[in-house]
Symmetry: C2
Subunit: 493 residues, 2 copies
């Protein structure tokens, strides 16, 4: 059903008072702030720091992204659940004792007019300490394993600095919590998680990613290893858009999650958890594909994939609208199509839908009434193409693939241009000036990492490349001590 888009008249109305972007993308920080306001993505005037109102255009896109991840997770054997928002302090403390988390927490500590709760309840910052006590009840024997559950929810963290879709006191993510009999299965799951990220980010959203094995001091608290996915943003800083953690038996020992194996022996389970950062994926999408005109939405997640604009002329008005509707009925079975028949001028409409990132636009005027052709304007490379009316569906399908490739190519180009292999200290310091990601040999010491960060005003070790076992004989690019690994470094969000 693609016919649910009759309501966009409101957008038009709401937009009538606004204009296009007045700042170039090269001024990234301001551009990002402006596009969030002008493309109906978020309203930051709600009145509580770090809490935004998600507006309709963003929620539509975000729902599409969530659906993609849910489908992938379910194909890989995960089942949906919904755990309570609130986590008893004692559960969280159990986790905190071992791994820490409390400073970031918002607490429910009162109810009603003025009653104080006996025990404070945390808004979920992440849900290990909600899930795992229940897992301890649910899991009895090897027959209950593997157990793979996920939830798509908002989570809450008291961060000092916030930015819409990048870092919020309230943010949207998916968390999946998986339990296995063996560590091998955990490691396989982690590979699987990273593949889910790869497939969606690259194939569907056209965003190149880098997967890292994070260094010891940058792991999720309580994880044996953290594998994280970074993207390169236009300001050449990296943004972590997801992570999967090898928890080994650390949490199962804390929360007492045991199972009887086939021989009747009791063992602690092995666990992983995976968090696709839906908010940040959306931020990456806005930032990496967008241009001076506005958003460029990948075809699969665009709430409107084709916008039809009637070019009204007094005498043929009703014929033109009819033709638009005919067209919508034809391609609307396959694509999400919307006719913008509001009162604005064609130019205003073009600008609006460019700002909103709709992939394709078709204008229908007098000329098109008599012709078997229509003209399709492509948002992604600003070209137009004449297409025979009856081959429109096929052509749009093909162009959508072309579009995804072009978006990905552009993003890949940017990434390649800003990922540099520093072979010596001179290289290294030159590249630090350039920004972007630097690959270099590194001693592996936290101390040295900290010195690098201080000296470069923010350059951080993102980790070794996941899946590549590059052995290196060389010296640390910074401290000159012996180094056995290549790492990637970048400034981060």
């Amino acid at each position: 059903m693609k016919t649910i888009f009759n309501m966009y008249t409101n957008y038009n109305n709401n937009m009538s008072k606004k204009q296009g972007l007045t700042v170039k993308k090269s001024n990234f920080s301001e551009w990002f702030t402006q596009i969030i306001d002008k493309a109906d993505l978020a309203d930051i005037r709600y009145g509580i720091q770090g809490f935004i109102v998600h507006k309709s255009w963003s929620i539509r896109i975000i729902k599409q992204i969530i659906n993609m991840f849910e489908e992938s997770l379910e194909k890989e054997g995960h089942e949906p659940v919904l755990f309570p928002l609130l986590i008893p302090e004692e559960n969280l403390k159990k986790e905190a004792e071992h791994f820490g988390f409390l400073p970031e927490v918002f607490w429910v500590s009162q109810k009603g007019a003025n009653e104080t709760l006996n025990k404070r309840l945390a808004l979920r910052p992440t849900s290990e300490s909600a899930f795992y006590p229940m897992y301890s009840l649910w899991i009895r024997s090897y027959r209950d394993l593997p157990l793979k559950k996920y939830q798509s929810v908002t989570a809450y963290r008291n961060e000092s600095v916030t930015r819409p879709f990048i870092r919020g006191h309230e943010f949207i993510w998916i968390e999946s919590h998986d339990v296995f009999e063996t560590h091998e299965e955990s490691l396989k799951q982690i590979k699987n998680d990273i593949n889910i990220m790869k497939n969606i980010m690259i194939e569907k959203l056209g965003i190149p990613i880098l997967s890292f094995n994070r260094p010891e001091w940058d792991k999720f608290l309580g994880a044996e290893s953290t594998f994280a996915i970074d993207v390169l943003m236009p300001d050449k800083k990296v943004l972590q858009v997801g992570a999967t953690h090898d928890l080994t038996q650390k949490f199962s020992k804390t929360f007492d999650i045991k199972y009887l194996d086939k021989n009747g022996n009791e063992n602690y389970v092995w666990q992983t958890c995976f968090g696709p950062g839906i908010w940040r994926i959306f931020a990456a999408l806005i930032s990496i594909h967008g241009d001076d005109k506005g958003l460029k939405l990948p075809f699969d997640i665009a709430p409107i994939q084709v916008v039809i604009i009637p070019i009204i002329s007094k005498d043929n008005n009703s014929k033109i609208i009819k033709k638009c509707e005919l067209l919508k009925n034809t391609i609307g079975k396959k694509f999400r199509v919307y006719i913008d028949d509001t009162k604005k001028t064609p130019g205003e409409k073009y600008n609006k839908w460019e700002l909103y990132g709709v992939p394709f636009r078709i204008e229908i005027g007098i000329k098109e009434l008599k012709s078997n052709f229509v003209t399709l304007s492509k948002r992604y490379n600003k070209t137009k193409i004449k297409i025979k009316y009856n081959s429109l569906e096929n052509k749009i399908e093909k162009l959508s693939l072309e579009m995804n490739k072009i978006l990905l190519n552009d993003a890949n180009k940017f990434l390649k241009n800003n990922l540099r292999n520093a072979k010596n200290k001179n290289d290294f310091f030159k590249y630090v000036e350039n920004g972007g990601i630097i690959k270099a040999t590194f001693c592996g010491k936290e101390n040295c990492a900290r010195e690098i960060q201080n000296y470069t005003k923010g350059l951080k070790i993102r980790g070794t490349f996941y899946g590549k076992n590059e052995k290196v004989l060389g010296k640390c690019i910074y401290c000159n001590k012996s180094a056995k690994k290549n790492v990637y470094m970048a400034k981060q969000y």
Copy 2:
């Protein structure tokens, strides 16, 4: 894509330790508690009163129900949004000053280790006071109207007594908040909201509903009128599953939501809000259709619509599995199909999927290998039917309609048998004994309503029938004073 159901092996594993229902539905209260546990709907052992863990089978069903409402709302011009969970105390107080709400609220009042917030923040009990201050910023002119937004979220209320899916400290619902230029448009919207409820409840879920204009003393605080939808539960009490409210200009005056009309005059907007109670709709679904064996899920929302059970025999094992997969590939394009090839006995599998309410079951054994026919077992009336392999898809489609009709008919029958028209006082007191819903003439006075409630131990005035303007000349069934209206009374959840 119907191929996302490979993960049900886990259910089987988890189920292996459980058994079917051990209590009849005639013992409704215990039956409800048991089915929630045994059909993988909720775990109530989370440790905070009124907060349940939504398990996978229930979340799958609930998601389907949410999708139905979202599609209907969007067809009627609503757009999705997501407002923050937290509402500043001052906003809520503005509402409370006029209408009240604070006693039911959970408060975030601390963050971090032990820091107290300057201003308490409420977990949304409902979101008028989150939406409307923003509406006051968003709405400037008649061109911004109508404005129709909805969100599907969890909400939080500190109720004294809780029951899974019926009354929770945390519950799932949809809230839509609509704004118009005129009261006429509001009233039209309310009709529209009730039609959405009717269509989904009756056509899709097979649940008959009654729509009432609630009496003055039972309105949503701040509403001019409340129109609410009740269903009759098996224990003959009614459950409100949704409501839509005519807010007139009360909230727009409180939150200062004004617009400039075509003549340049400033006016307050007219508002409605509509809340389909997703949790309670699910509770109704469980309760009204379920039987001694378990759930009976209406076809459209069943996470598994057809379960295929291989009847393994040593020599033909792989052939049988292959046939099952062939069958799944055939009908799986259209329906949600799952092959239960776990290690349990066929009998255990039949019982399980009956408990879970899967509409259709097909067994594939040696007999079916050589035959062009398969046997389809229907959950809804416990009959079997032989169907030609190649007409299976059509047949299932037809049977799904038959099924919905039968579920609705059964529910209608129960409702009719328990909705009585009391013509005199004798009738009335006899019917009070019987339980169910009583239609009778009523004086319209709150005092009398309270006396009725006290005397009958709980009978409440549900209101006049929405849309029917029955004029009555008679006397109040209870106090004998003059009465102009028929009302409906029932005990309620």
